[in-house]
Symmetry: C2
Subunit: 206 residues, 2 copies
């Protein structure tokens, strides 16, 4: 199993969304939001991609924003899950950091449509949905910072500014969703491996 598969590039994603019509609408919304952005996407476009009439959307979702909210929450939860599975395994801080970055980057590349929506359309959410998603992001940040702190404590890493470096590492990973292109020369696995190496250098891993 490749890192891309174990990082959520599965054949049948969104399996937790039922019934079938609701899932089709959600998948259509992810595509449309990723391509054109939330505000430039119309409910007619989403319904059309799902092969349904515009009114069908409102049987399964109260508003267009609820679609974005659902996508954002599920997407963040999956990313966090991928990161935790890799970062809480056995091994030294360096091994855990490399695994975490590799998986997290790989997910952002393989699932770059979801990741783009999740990372860049956040501000279109209303205050309470926004707060919920931001709380998930803080958990992601804390996970990475924890590994870096472990490495510093054990003397394996040489980092002067832990918060700043954590920010930079997160930043590097997240931006993959912006530039990654399926038709480009690199596979998600390759980008993950490259970035894991770069991050180990950033923290001065011995």
């Amino acid at each position: 199993m490749s890192a891309a598969e174990e990082s959520g590039g599965e054949a049948q994603p969104w399996a937790e969304v039922t019934p079938d019509a609701a899932r089709r609408l959600l998948v259509a919304a992810v595509e449309a939001f990723a391509e054109r952005g939330y505000h430039a996407t119309t409910t007619r476009d989403i319904a059309g991609r799902a092969g349904m009439s515009p009114a069908a959307l409102y049987i399964h979702y109260k508003t267009k924003e609820e679609l974005l909210h659902r996508i954002s929450r599920i997407g963040h939860e999956k990313a966090l899950d991928v990161l935790r599975t890799a970062g809480r395994g056995e091994g030294t801080a360096a091994e855990r950091l490399a695994d975490a970055v590799r998986s997290f980057v790989c997910w952002h590349a393989a699932q770059h449509t979801v990741a783009r929506v999740v990372q860049y359309e956040l501000d279109a959410l209303g205050p309470e949905a926004w707060a919920e998603v931001v709380a998930l992001r803080r958990q992601v940040d804390a996970e990475v910072r924890g590994i870096i702190e472990d490495g510093v404590a054990s003397g394996a890493f040489d980092v002067a500014d832990v918060r700043g470096t954590t920010l930079a590492v997160m930043s590097l990973c997240i931006d993959v969703a912006r530039w990654f292109n399926v038709d480009g020369p690199r596979t998600p696995d390759e980008v993950g491996a490259l970035y894991a190496g770069l991050v180990l250098r950033m923290v001065g891993a011995k």
Copy 2:
């Protein structure tokens, strides 16, 4: 003079845009686009921020998209200028790379409203304007890659994948526009210095 000042955090930006009303509209558009995104911003909002009636916008700009185009082109030109000034100075490849990253990051932090529009609203442009701006981006990429290649050639850097590492360095710099917050704990200069150090580690500078 701080790096923030020499990197374009000047008191009177957009001086090249005349007449005065056209500049006020453009500045208002930058603010609005950065806050809410291009598609979520209305022409009435832009005109209102500039203290004018909605119709006034169309005296100075043909369409709302022309505003975005102008902002994007001027913004990219300034960023490229900042990068070139720093990256083509005297010194070793390591010194030039550090200066380039410091200035470029500093610009993205100090001018994060412009940078956010420039980096994230690109896809709202029509095909010909999009192509023009993408050409400028390729020049930015080439500039950074050139410095890294110099360092590899002279043996100062240890980089296995030059294009991939260039991509990662650019990615790190650009993402600053997404997360930087004026009310946060770091000044643009501090972020620039931190990132310059991290990038030197990424390229394995001796």
